[in-house]
Symmetry: C2
Subunit: 158 residues, 2 copies
DNA sequence: GAGTAGGTACTCGGATACAACATGTCCGAGTGCTTAGGG
DNA sequence: CCCTAAGCACTCGGACATGTTGTATCCGAGTACCTACTC
C-alpha cells in the first residue's frame, strides 16, 4: 500500500518546470542532475506524464520537457493517476459470491457490497483532496525556492 | 498503489466472525471453505489480525478464530493498518535536499515540504473516513446475509 | 471408577518457492538544430 | 553568399535485467480436548 517514488519525482519536476517556464524546455539530463535522480528511469516516468497530456516534450538540440498546461490546471490527482494508473486502491473481487458464502443468495447481491462501498467512500475523500490542489498551489507555497531555483538553473546551464 | 487482497479477506472474515459470535471460535478451515480462499495464506493474514489484538485465536480441537473486541470497537482503519502495516502511502524522501537543488538552501528547508504536506492532507482524509466506520456498521449493512450466514454455517458444521 | 497415556485437531511460527510489479539500464529510431562543405 | 549534407543532441519507444514485495505452500512445534487404557 505505497505509491512508487515516481509520484514524488513527478510532483517535484512539475513544480520545478512551473518555476522554469520562462527558460524554455528543460532537458531530462538537467532535471536528473537537479535532484540527483537516475536519469533513464526519471525519463520513463516523465514520459508517462507526457502521454497523459500534463507535460510537453520538445525534440531536438534545444528540446526538453515543459508544462503542457497552466500550473493552475494541473491537479495533484492528475499527476497521481498519470503515474500510478487508474487503479483503485481497494479492488473489490466480490468474494462474498464465492464458495459456500455465495450459495442460495437470491437477489441479495444486487445491492453493492457494503465493504467495498465503505472503502470506496474513503478513497473518494482521498481523491477529493488531491483534486482540490494544483501545481500552482505548490509553486506558491515556497516562493523562496522559486527564486533560488531560477538562479541555480541559469548558473547550471550558463 | 493497491492494497493486498488480504484486506478484503480480513474485512469479510471480521464481519462473518461478528455474525457467528454465538457459534464459538471458527476454525480457519471453515473460513477458507466459506469464501473459497487459500487456507494457508488466509491463516497468515488472520494471524496478523491476531497479533494486532483484533482477533483472538483458540487452540485445541474446538479452537479457531473469533473477534477479540466488540464489533463496534473495531474500525476499518484498525484492520487496514494491521494487515498493511503502518506504512504511509506517500513516503517523502526529501528529494528537494538532494543534488543541485539542495545547495545553498539556508533555513529554507526548516519548513516542511509543501508536496509532502499536500499528500499527507489527502492521506489523513482517507484515514478519517476509515476510522469513522466499524465492523458493526458493516454487519448492520446487510441483515439478510447475517441470518443466511448463520444458517449456512450451522448446516456446514452439523 | 479414577487417573494417565496417547491420539487428534487445531494454532503458531518459520522456511521456502513462485509470480507480479517496481526499479533501473540499454539500445535503435526519429527529429530538429548546428555546422561544415561545395557550388 | 547560399544551399545542402552530415553531425549532434535530444526525445521516444521498446527490450531487457534486477530487486523487492505480495502470494502461496509446506513443515515442525506447541496446545487443548478427547479417547482408550491401566490400575
Amino acid at each position: 500500500m505505497q505509491m512508487g517514488e515516481g509520484v514524488e519525482w513527478g510532483l517535484h519536476c512539475c513544480v520545478t518546470l512551473g518555476w522554469l517556464a520562462d527558460e524554455g524546455p528543460v532537458p531530462i539530463r538537467r532535471l536528473a542532475q537537479w535532484f540527483d535522480l537516475p536519469q533513464e528511469y526519471l525519463k520513463k516516468r516523465l514520459q508517462a506524464l507526457t502521454r497523459a497530456g500534463l507535460l510537453a516534450s520538445t525534440p531536438g538540440v534545444k528540446g526538453g520537457f515543459s508544462l503542457a498546461r497552466a500550473p493552475r490546471d494541473i491537479t495533484l490527482m492528475d499527476v497521481v493517476t498519470a503515474l500510478e494508473g487508474p487503479v483503485e486502491p481497494f479492488p473489490c473481487t466480490e468474494i462474498r459470491r464465492r464458495g459456500v458464502s455465495g450459495e442460495g443468495a437470491g437477489r441479495e447481491f444486487d445491492r453493492p457490497c457494503g465493504i467495498a462501498a465503505a472503502m470506496r467512500r474513503a478513497e473518494l475523500a482521498w481523491r477529493r483532496e488531491l483534486a482540490a490542489r494544483t501545481v500552482a498551489d505548490l509553486m506558491d507555497h515556497s516562493p523562496g525556492s522559486a527564486e533560488r531555483t531560477r538562479r541555480g538553473y541559469r548558473r547550471l546551464i550558463g
